[in-house]
């Protein structure tokens, strides 16, 4: 007996068509491909840089230990060619360390201020200004270093040249602060408001909430912010080329001029004739730079894991 009318019956759900199922598979494939492509690109970049650098290992003028631990860089000397990059490595590291020791406290501090303490209107204004700061091209920063900063340093310290480690470090700090601020602010914003309210309801002051609750729970994001700042500093080329003085020496003080790995490659690659030893060795410094940043990232990764396990 069936006295249900046609309209009472539930419509039968259509079977999914072959096209839509195939479409889903295709989409899945594309997404997987774009995920894997990140790995492929990194490996490919490493491979091509290394391929350009490899011939140097067969040159009689080259010695890997001297390359790493000798400070004498005379790639175009007619009689005695020396490819020591120690001064360049030290230059890169010292400029980065100086920049980070200024940029990290300022960056994290202003991120905390923007996210936790300032009024909504000021917050909007500050965020726009900081984004603007991040958008200034590096050659403009280099120009500021070369002119304004250089003159200021000479008049304040009496140093003979204004383009030096201090100048480069300050310029790099100014360049990395916006990145650190915006990433760190995102990390703090991601901490649920319920944490803040729970802590405040327990009678904590704003500052106690920041260092007892927010900093611990946002530490991964904050570390990522610092890492991106370091990455920016190590990789920055044009601004340091203009602001550090570009002298190959191991610095003994803040007012010594230095040259970084990146600035060296940028300045000399145009001059080196293709497939000469000089050309290959510049690519090898590229590999060195690659390994350096990789080491920084790896260390940070271990640090994060260490914190997590705890």
């Amino acid at each position: 007996m069936n006295d249900m009318s046609e309209s009472d019956r539930l419509p039968t759900l259509p079977k999914r068509s072959v096209v839509s199922m195939a479409g889903e598979k295709l989409l899945e494939f594309i997404i997987r491909l774009s995920g894997i492509s990140a790995i492929v690109f990194v490996l490919a970049i490493f491979f091509f840089i290394f391929r350009e650098a490899a011939p140097i290992f067969f040159s009689e003028n080259f010695n890997l230990v001297k390359f790493l631990f000798n400070a004498e860089w005379y790639p175009t000397s007619v009689t005695n060619v020396r490819y020591g990059t120690l001064a360049l490595t030290v230059g890169s590291i010292s400029v980065t360390l100086l920049a980070m020791s200024i940029a990290v406290p300022f960056g994290l501090g202003s991120a905390v201020y923007i996210s936790e303490f300032c009024s909504p209107r000021l917050k909007e204004a500050l965020k726009i200004i900081i984004e603007l700061l991040a958008a200034i091209p590096s050659v403009v920063w280099g120009f500021i270093g070369l002119t304004v900063m250089s003159r200021t340093i000479i008049s304040l310290t009496g140093a003979p040249v204004g383009v030096n480690l201090l100048n480069g470090g300050l310029i790099l700090a100014l360049m990395s602060v916006p990145i650190i601020v915006s990433i760190a602010e995102d990390a703090l914003k991601a901490v649920p408001d319920s944490y803040r309210e729970a802590a405040l309801a327990l009678g904590a002051t704003n500052w106690q909430v920041v260092y007892r609750v927010l900093l611990p729970s946002a530490k991964n994001g904050l570390l990522a912010a610092v890492l991106l700042g370091i990455g920016r500093s190590v990789g920055e080329t044009m601004a340091v080329l203009m602001a550090t003085g570009h002298a190959v020496q191991i610095p003994h003080g803040l007012l010594d001029s230095v040259r970084t790995l990146t600035a060296n490659i940028a300045a000399e690659l145009g001059e080196a004739s293709a497939s000469s030893d000089h050309y290959h060795v510049l690519f090898l410094t590229g590999v060195l730079l690659f390994i350096l940043t990789f080491a920084v990232n790896l260390t940070a990764d271990f640090v994060i894991r260490g914190i997590r396990r705890k």
């Binding site: 319920s194 802590a199 309801a201 009678g203 904590a204 611990p216």
Partner: protein
Amino acid sequence: MEHSEKAIEIIDLRLSYGVKEVIHGLTFDIYRHEIFGIIGPAQSGKTSLLRCLNRTIDFESSATVSGTIRVDGSDIRRTKDIYALRRKIGMVAPLPVGLPLSIYDNVAFAPRSSGLTKKADLDSIVERCLKQAALWEEVKDRLHTLGTALSGGQQQRLTIARALSHQPRILCLDEFSIAIDPVTTMRIEDVLKELRKEITIILVTNLTQQARRLADRTMFLWNGDCVELDSTEIIFSDRPANSKTYEYVNGIFG
């Protein structure tokens, strides 16, 4: 019951979010050492009322509060030390908010915030509060693991322990039993009966029977108005003053 001392005095409390008024002029007192039940359907202003008490409503930028609230005789809008006020009032939220700290640090958070640093003192506070919240036996061997890794019910008891850790004069429980199994709920209810000797308890609950079991007086709040406030026996009797109360507690509407 001695009704001489007032723990909280509320006079013509009004609260609006933007232009929408959600509490329309409440006036009542809460006496010391009583369990004060607040019942009422969703959106009736129960949680907002609690947030007015410890002034966490201040974080809501659209909220405007008028009227007077006195805690221990002093007006909370004029208080100089908002942090001391918040420590005086323990607050337990309906869904547990375990801070991303260890179990120990969660409970020691408020004492530390108020400046207590001695390890022995902190240890004894942590142990006592966890015992009061019926959680000690389950976590005593892993006090230094993350509090957020506990189960929902355990986290809720952790927040109760935390709310007790600053030795509040008033404990506000906002539907604390949502995430807890009935057995544990009963254990905590027993704890609350014990605690009443020392502190005043405000119990906001959707389980009308819970208010019936625990509260000395119960207020029926509906759409931001107090429909009826009387001793629990009368609220849950066959003839409360307002017929709406009868209908609500007997599940006829609401």
